[in-house]
Subunit: 440 residues, 2 copies
């Protein structure tokens, strides 16, 4: 709760001090537990590193090294009016803890921190070495971690990166996530007249930037939900049949899924199931629209400008830089006469695939079953953890995604929550995981 | 300047007191000049009425009665950061007075108020009776004046309504405006999921309300600038050839017009000139767009809702209620599955045409030439003064639109201004007008 009270919003420049405080908090936690701890300064927020002692080795056999990765920054809490309790004043209702960051990602990070701290507190040495890297810019693209990664390669050297920043497949259905989508985020600016114009004196004779913006955004995706940017799907790798089959056996229920998000019906790219659309097909979302008069009442202006924040989720095969080029070409073609546009790319990262058959995945399955009572299902998730693909490249390691959250935990939304039961199970599964890895 | 300092923004409920203060100010002005003055209370803001004494009549001949109509409310000043000086702290730069309301409409109303006050102050009686009706809801549709108009018919009885709430054709080119466009304003709400969703976990599987909104708005107008709502043009009356010919002779310059608003090129409905598009063809403008994250930085959400404020300018033949029906049908057809829409009509009014050959128009031509040094050109304007058509119906009178402003006065925009030279000429023309009308 102390950690959740810190409004560590990495995208909000006015919250800078809070983000540093959140870093301090977890650093102190590691130090208190006697871990060797370091804070690597960056141009942005510090990278908090900690490691347990090397276990005693028997002869040749070298026990594996696991690196737990997570983040102490959070998404903005807006819209505030939709929260039932203040986002940074955590409360427990019905065995759920409500706060921004409860599940994404402070609560889930803490399961591993506590598991290791308890293990050490009990006086026993861990059968493997566990390292921690907790950053403060995951929600804004991890640019600084990416920059520092190469020079930290030796420190962070490991066999597997363990991440808990995702969800179970459903209540009581723990999952190991073997793939994540990539991401590319943008802001699109459309500029028209030098100032807002009277829509009576000028309407019909001067291109309206908000209309131009709607035309440009509408042209990106057809009415059926297929992205209409030329070449957008060129590099998309098809979903392996074996995974499509396995996912169908998960028995997801579209009607129930629609109810859970409060819509009458789902919508998306034709020819794919809901899980396929969410996990393994690229998507386009407008994240924000801004133009003209947004206050109360009527103001009959022809606005000088309009802008949109939008993002794509990418899948294996797609490269954010290529997507940016295709978008630039698309908008150049579709920008109406009488206005100018500017496409500003923010951050981008490719998709990530993990090895579902690695010994670490097997160890994780045993550990998860021992704590949750059922074996985990193998899934993918639609979210992005941009840095994981870089870990795989730079550290030449496996990745193990063990999500303790639920799909309805409202990450990035009002009333974000995390189940205290899943919190406890996560701690137990984490402790058991180090045990099982010791047997590899 | 006293009047301009009062931020009488009728669409802003927090400015209510200011709007009443602006009403008081002009009422006091009339009383100080010795006019018989009344304030008619309404559900909204008061209607300020004043009249000059009836002139002595010679035998049968009954001198005409003119009703000066104007408004003391103003548009919102936003965006404030684009003003070179605060909108409600009037300043004079280069012989122009800068303030919200300078030209629309306080400054122009004042030309008639001053002309009549000076006339009376000089001790002479006016050759005609001049009445004033200054309202406080012109910028929000004049609903209350419209409601009270019938029961005020006797008080307001007149031969011609004189309005100065428009512009000259250009600098040194005074105009008599013989037509105005009507208006229909709306807000369109699109609702999707019950709360903002994580675009990673849900993107591609749930309809994005902001994308739905862009599809729906984009579908309203084709890329060439022709409105694509079925039946939208059904009732549009063609522009009389005689007017089209006269307007072409005005010699408007598209390149210069584009420069004056700061765009490279103009755009609009094919087959019509810029003046025709602005004055006599219906238009569609998005006045505001709102959805999702508008603050700093990235927030990868699938927003729960999106909305737009938009408006149409209507031309003779078109009825706002019919347009609302056609829009409702259009959106019902074009609303994507997975979201719901709500179309909220705000205010609507038909277009207005004045009699260019009436004796009042002839009197005005002489008066304007005597003060501006050149005869006025006959034009239309694209703006709307919703109540004028109602005046014509209820009071069975002519309408005379004498605009003293300029197209670049930035009405409804930052840095609204009014030329002090035009202000003076307006006062002289107004005084001469009563003289000329006395000769009818």
């Amino acid at each position: 709760m102390q950690w959740l009270r810190i409004a560590s919003i990495s995208s909000d420049s006015s919250a800078r001090q809070n983000v540093h405080l959140a870093a301090e908090w977890v650093k102190n936690k590691f130090e208190a537990a006697g871990l060797k701890t370091e804070s690597f300064e960056t141009a942005g927020f510090p990278l908090i590193y900690a490691e347990t002692p090397l276990p005693a080795t028997e002869g040749e056999k070298k026990p594996p090294v696991a690196l737990v990765y997570g983040h102490y920054d959070v998404q903005p809490p807006e819209p505030l009016e939709l929260w039932n309790s203040p986002p940074f004043e955590p409360v427990v209702r019905d065995n759920q803890i409500y706060a921004r960051g409860a599940t994404d990602d402070k609560g889930q990070v803490l399961t591993h921190v506590i598991a290791v701290c308890e293990w050490l507190a009990s006086g026993r040495t861990l059968p493997i070495q566990v390292k921690f890297l907790i950053e403060g810019e995951e929600e804004v693209g991890s640019a600084n971690l990416e920059e520092h990664l190469p020079r930290l390669a030796e420190t962070l050297a490991c066999d597997v990166v363990v991440v808990s920043d995702s969800s179970q497949y459903g209540p009581g259905r723990p999952a190991i996530t073997c793939g994540l989508r990539g991401i590319a985020t943008y802001e699109l600016f459309v500029d028209g007249p030098s100032h807002d114009l009277h829509s009576g004196s000028f309407g019909g004779a001067v291109m309206n930037p908000a209309i131009a913006l709607c035309h440009m955004l509408s042209s990106m995706i057809d009415k059926d939900g297929r992205i209409a940017v030329a070449g957008f799907y060129d590099d998309v790798l098809p979903i392996p049949e074996i995974e499509r089959e396995a996912w169908k056996r998960l028995g997801s229920d579209d009607a129930e899924f629609a109810r859970s998000v409060g819509v009458d019906t789902l919508a998306g790219e034709p020819g794919f199931t809901t899980d396929e659309r969410r996990w393994a097909r690229p998507s386009f979302d407008i994240n924000g629209l801004t133009s003209g008069h947004q206050g109360e009442g009527v103001k009959t202006v022809l606005p000088a400008k309009a802008s949109a924040k939008f993002s794509h989720r990418l899948v294996p095969g797609q490269d954010p830089k290529t997507i940016t080029q295709k978008l630039q070409e698309h908008f150049t073609q579709h920008c109406p006469a009488g206005v100018k546009f500017k496409l500003k790319p923010d951050h981008g990262a490719g998709a990530m695939l993990a090895d579902a058959s690695s010994p670490y995945t097997k160890a994780a399955s045993i550990a998860v079953e021992s704590s949750f009572g059922v074996p985990p299902v193998m899934i993918r998730e639609g979210g992005s953890i941009p840095i994981l693909a870089r870990f795989q490249e730079v550290l030449d390691c496996d990745v193990l995604l063990l999500g303790w959250g639920q799909n309805d935990d409202a990450a990035h939304s009002p009333n974000e929550k995390f189940s205290l039961t899943d919190f406890q199970r996560g701690i137990q599964a984490s402790a058991a995981l180090w045990q099982e890895m010791g047997r590899i």
